[in-house]
């Protein structure tokens, strides 16, 4: 094949350019550690990375939501522990008042204690955590529960801001996975705050010495205590469920990261080897080019 002088030069330049181009591509991959930095590097992988990153960001958010839910549940659990104690004490007092053998002074003392316990229950019902009321349903700001008193200041019942108080607080902890995290006034205290009414009735019975009244209240009060125990068990179950979801989200995170890495990350060892190879090609090309181009018949003419 006839080779012209210009050909040597252009062939050399073109091939050198190609090697440089490959080297540059490899270098930027190695520097970023990423095989896919733009869609054209691998269109299918790029689209895949987008999807995985979206899921990763969502999972991070779900984990944050889940942690807040756990804190809410834990706070509810603490409040319930004390609520159960109080209801238990009320139960004991009921039995005492039902026993006709107690004298008026003793009974007055019990009545006073019941007043105190009522106030404490209202306080517990109004518990807030991180600025949110735990037991008022959607009424998470203002105190949902209050004590109603007569003109003389004695407690006659409990009041509740009704609008939305039975609302279920939901938290997003997965794609289309909602977790209900609260207990409502009815869950805790029965229809129309029955527990409070019963305690007020018991106090009145203690003051008046009506042991029959007191006796008839023992069962409802026991039911009230059961209700609170059940509520605490439900919260315990909620916390378990939260643990389970947390574990699942943890697994999901690991899997997602593995998938992302597969799509996007560079196999460093492979890339380094490629780079070495191209580098030697470049060196060989450069030296042979210089060698060839300096040869010519001109050197041999006299």
């Amino acid at each position: 094949m006839r080779v012209s002088t210009g050909m040597l030069h252009s062939t050399a330049v073109n091939e050198l350019n190609r090697v440089w181009s490959r080297l540059q591509g490899l270098q930027s991959q190695i520097a970023t550690g990423k095989r896919v930095s733009k869609p054209s590097d691998d269109p299918i992988a790029a689209a895949g990375v987008l999807r995985v990153r979206s899921q990763q960001r969502a999972t991070e958010q779900y984990t944050r939501n889940l942690n807040e839910a756990r804190e809410f549940a834990t706070a509810s659990d603490s409040a319930l522990t004390r609520l159960v104690e109080v209801a238990d004490r009320v139960q004991t007092i009921a039995v005492q008042v039902a026993d006709a053998s107690y004298g008026p002074e003793a009974r007055a003392g019990l009545a006073a204690e019941l007043d105190g316990l009522l106030e404490e229950l209202i306080g517990l019902a109004n518990t807030e955590y991180a600025g949110k009321r735990l037991f008022g349903g959607y009424q998470t700001r203002e105190e949902p529960f209050s004590v109603t008193t007569d003109e003389k200041g004695s407690i006659i019942g409990a009041g509740l801001i009704e609008r939305g108080s039975e609302g279920r607080l939901q938290r997003q902890v997965g794609d289309n996975v909602l977790l209900t995290i609260n207990l409502t006034p009815t869950d805790l205290f029965g229809e129309d705050l029955a527990l409070f009414e019963d305690i007020v009735a018991l106090r009145d019975a203690a003051l008046s010495g009506d042991s029959d009244q007191a006796r008839s209240l023992v069962e409802p009060l026991a039911a009230g205590l059961d209700r609170l125990n059940l509520s605490q068990a439900l919260v315990g179950g909620l916390i378990s469920r939260i643990d389970g979801i947390e574990e699942w989200l943890g697994h999901l995170e690991v899997e997602l990261e593995a998938t992302r890495s597969e799509y996007q990350d560079l196999n460093m060892a492979e890339a380094a080897m490629e780079y070495q190879k191209e580098q030697s090609i470049l060196q060989a090309a450069l030296s042979t080019t210089t060698n060839l181009m300096s040869m010519s018949l001109v050197n041999y003419l006299k």
């Binding site: 002088t5 073109n14 733009k38 807040e68 600025g131 997003q172 003419l301």
Partner: protein, 437 residues
């Protein structure tokens, strides 16, 4: 001797032009001089130069020009598509998909504490980021479109300049041909311009007997003895107020530019970019309507987003003015979060493509298609570069000057000249000897 001197002249010309672009080596064709016919025998009369010919393979030229035309198209496409990829900036954490994800996350965060003002502020901020990224992308793409516009104008200018030059060369070549000359150097220049022209657009050509080169662009004659039709650019606005660019001829025809740089740029401008902008727009309108539909149901009754598309999407004025107008629930109660949950849930909602894919999926499809187009363009560009280099190499093999070859020819011409001189001297000596008798 004279013949050998001519050969020397040609060699000299070749060597001088070894590195000249577009130069085809010339060869002096030596033939026997017409013999004198005698009675008993013919007497040879030596050698003469019958002509100086250009070493050129026309078929090869044609193949190469076709290649250059395709290469021109794919090259302009590959470069610009890579720029679009840069504007899109995916995958990354500062991209449109990241902004969308963070927007849904902000709503989810708000749903966990619907009454919190800080979280509302974050929702508004992420809304701003999202709308800003969309708007910026549109602006940058439109800017790219404008750059392409001026590039088209430049290239058309170049094209017309080349066309004008070819026209003048046609006149000169025709004159030379009439006078019986080969006009090698003029032809070389014409071929060089033709190479450049083919790179710009898909012209077809041929040479007439009188040496005039004629050119066609998509079946329309643009250069001939009498014809001369430079390209014009016509700008217009379509029904949507979008600017359109067309290449027209003075006769009013719009030739189809199937390849060449100008063709590639027109395709980008008229097809690729508008399609991409449309995809962005449908993403934006989907986002605006889906979010607003849910958001409006709350106590403030306002829209969260304002806008008709990607160009003007923004957080609504009411939300900008008052954080409180961000609705988290239909009831408006502090613990209720149904709207916040619903908006956050739009992340996966199938609201695009007649309800088959989500907003994010729509976008990752757009990104994927962009990647495929860019990859294809680069692949074609690389492969055509390779083939055109091969063809150019073959052309150089055919027409290029080889210094060694020329020098070898030089030596042999020198020898022949010396030999001729020698014979002449000997003949002279013989004559002298005869004279001195």
């Amino acid at each position: 001797m004279a013949a050998q001197q001519s050969v020397l002249a040609v060699i000299g010309h070749n060597v001088a032009n070894t590195n000249t672009a577009g130069y085809s080596r010339q060869v002096a064709h030596l033939v026997q001089e017409t013999p004198t016919l005698g009675v008993a025998q013919d007497y040879g009369n030596g050698v003469r130069v019958s002509g100086v010919y250009r070493q050129r393979d026309q078929v090869l030229d044609q193949e190469l020009r076709q290649d250059l035309s395709d290469l021109g198209r794919w090259e302009s496409r590959a470069g610009r598509l890579e720029m679009i990829e840069g504007i899109v900036n995916e995958p990354s954490d500062a991209s449109l998909s990241a902004a969308m994800d963070e927007f849904w996350n902000a709503w989810s965060e708000l749903s966990s504490d619907p009454d919190d003002q800080t979280r509302r502020a974050v929702v508004r901020e992420q809304g701003r980021v999202l709308t800003y990224r969309l708007q910026t992308m549109v602006t940058r793409i439109e800017q790219l479109g404008q750059d392409i516009d001026s590039e088209i104008a430049t290239r058309v200018g170049e094209f017309n300049l080349l066309l004008g030059d070819l026209r003048s060369l046609n006149t000169m070549v025709k004159e030379s041909t009439l006078q019986g000359e080969a006009a090698n150097d003029l032809r070389d220049r014409r071929d060089l311009l033709l190479d450049q022209l083919c790179q710009l657009a898909n012209v077809t050509y041929g040479e007439r007997e009188d040496g005039v080169l004629y050119l066609r662009l998509d079946h329309t004659m643009i250069l001939d003895e009498a014809q001369y039709r430079p390209l014009e650019i016509r700008r217009s606005q379509d029904a949507n107020g979008q600017r359109q660019v067309h290449i027209v001829l003075p006769t009013g025809e719009t030739p189809e530019l199937a390849s060449g740089e100008i063709g590639g740029l027109i395709e980008l401008r008229q097809q690729t970019l508008p399609e991409f902008l449309m995809d962005l727009d449908s993403l934006a309108t989907g986002l605006i309507s889906e979010v607003n539909n849910v958001h409006r149901a709350g106590p403030s009754g306002v829209d969260f987003f304002f806008g008709t598309g990607a160009r003007d999407i923004a957080v609504s004025a009411q939300v900008e003015a008052t954080l409180g107008s961000i609705n988290t629930s239909t009831s408006g109660l502090p613990g209720d979060n149904d709207i916040a949950l619903a908006i956050s849930g739009l992340r996966d909602a199938r609201v695009m493509q007649s309800g088959t894919i989500s907003l994010s999926d729509h976008w990752s499809n757009v990104v994927g298609r962009l990647g495929i187009a860019s990859r294809e363009a680069t692949f074609q560009k690389d492969s055509l570069t390779l083939t055109s280099e091969t063809l150019q190499s073959r052309r150089a093999s055919e027409s290029g000057v080889s210094l060694d070859e020329e020098l070898a020819t030089l030596l042999s011409a020198q020898q022949a000249y010396l030999a001729a001189v020698r014979i002449f001297q000997t003949a002279e000596d013989m004559m002298d000897t005869l004279m001195s008798i």
